[in-house]
Symmetry: C2
């Protein structure tokens, strides 16, 4: 989690995280299923399967001037991840309320992040654990403006591994991110800022915490979710932007060699929004500063209701 910029984070426990589940003890006096608690205090048992087994799911939601971005899409993906892990079905209205409550309780700031987590809870209790954590977004000015240096790393799986082997949980946003973290450390060792994972058979996948968007001429493309990657919530909004600028947008499986021939590429994600790739495995890639600035501005604009 980012630098808090001197502001206190906000923690809301979600005391009624799942549909058709009994309320927890916490919830008895809070029938909206949400309880603001001290973020500096311990709230988790060491036996929670979230930590014992990385057995849970999360979403990180960007918040622009108090408005959560792509909230419906994040909630839908959260429910999808829960289904892939056979977790209890999250009560999305409670989660929505928890997110808005936590954002409302935070000091106002231009950009915040709201992270929501659902774990399988403590064995034998039959209850999931859930919470919302809101804090100031980091300062991504340099990444958004100057761009980032990216290395490609083998993800170990073939591009078609997901469909026949759902237990690999490809496409679920789980708490089991040790490999993603290790990949980011490997990037740092190589003097880079971020990673693009490639399938073992040579196709572009995604970043450890981002979606890849690639431009060739007047076309932009991203990897389809059938390749075992997460559906990109920010990517969807980025495609809206590129469409509005006259680019053809497509989902297409892309060999790594085609990425190397790109005119431009971005890693898009919920809080950093869009970071242009300025070097790929050490080879420079052009950064369109004006286009990227417009893209970031569009991504940070909450939709009109």
């Amino acid at each position: 989690m980012g630098d808090t910029g001197g502001m206190s984070p906000v923690l809301a426990l979600v005391t009624r995280p799942a549909l058709s589940r009994p309320a927890t003890g916490h919830a008895a006096s809070h029938d909206d299923g949400v309880e603001l608690v001290d973020p500096a205090a311990a709230h988790l048992l060491v036996t929670d399967l979230g930590v014992q087994r990385g057995d849970g799911i999360f979403e990180t939601i960007g918040v622009s001037n108090g408005s959560p971005l792509s909230l419906d899409e994040h909630l839908a993906r959260f429910a999808h991840s829960a289904a892939l892990l056979d977790l209890p079905d999250p009560d999305l209205e409670v989660w929505r309320r928890a997110i808005l409550t936590a954002i409302g309780a935070h000091e106002s700031a231009q950009e915040l992040s709201a992270k929501i987590v659902l774990t399988r809870g403590v064995p034998g209790r039959g209850e999931a654990s859930g919470w919302v954590w809101v804090e100031p977004a980091g300062d991504f000015t340099a990444a958004r403006t100057d761009g980032i240096r990216v290395v490609t790393l083998d993800r170990g799986y073939r591009h078609d591994a997901a469909e026949p082997a759902p237990w690999l949980l490809l496409g679920a946003k789980t708490l089991s991110y040790a490999v993603n973290q290790a990949a980011l450390r490997e990037a740092e060792r190589r003097g880079a800022d971020d990673v693009i994972f490639v399938s073992s058979d040579g196709y572009v996948l995604e970043g450890p915490t981002s979606t890849v968007i690639v431009r060739h001429g007047q076309s932009v493309s991203t990897t389809p979710t059938t390749a075992g990657i997460l559906a990109g919530t920010t990517q969807a909004r980025a495609f809206d932007f590129f469409s509005s600028r006259g680019f053809a947008c497509e989902f297409a499986l892309m060999p790594l060699e085609r990425l190397r021939q790109a005119d431009a590429a971005w890693l898009v994600s919920s809080v950093r929004q869009a970071a242009p790739v300025r070097a790929l495995d050490g080879a420079p890639l052009a950064v369109d500063t004006a286009l990227t600035a417009d893209l970031v501005a569009a991504l940070l604009t909450p939709p009109q209701r």
Copy 2:
């Protein structure tokens, strides 16, 4: 974690988990680096990277009549996992003391399990989190005697994925076990009790929480760690047993078809010890009850010092 059989678990926080690290606040009055705390209380912040990212490591150690089994081997593997994840180097003497303290504080029982966990801790604090959890082992009589039904599931990685891609953390015992848990749920859906993972190119790997030992005639074999599996602490002691009974013991990469032709197979692990495979993907496999009973007894016998 298993049924506690009415006994209270014991939780010891390891307040000086890493070498050359400042003591935490907790440790100020406990300069042995170990603090027994209420196991029913919350001790973890939701921001701990152990839960945020499954970013940590663990070992589960069998305890027989008060003696931890293969303790040196577990501690060595713990340190190896820490190195693979670039975690601070655990102070193994503190961990050893913590394990013995926690076991000593537990009501005596024939079989306990001691789980040790080291996480990257809370971002910005520069301190790892560590603890030991001791509880009664489950009752594994049926699994040890009658055997278990096992299904084979694709692990998604080739048998040779580990060496060129250390960021995949193959061979590290991390908290990111969501896939292992999903595989066990898939086994249950298929009417089975456990899983043997197979590489995407068809070689036998390991179980989600166990090592595979296969007998063909007078030879027993297991998969080498070069295939991206954990070094088996229990497997090492099982090989001692099989050697003493005149079996030839070898590490050999085994195609799945060769497993299907086995005369017998076991999943060995630190707490269940050895469970004979009585069915593999629905096909029956012979269980040698007498040999297995001797194997379990040998595994539960603490080494003489």
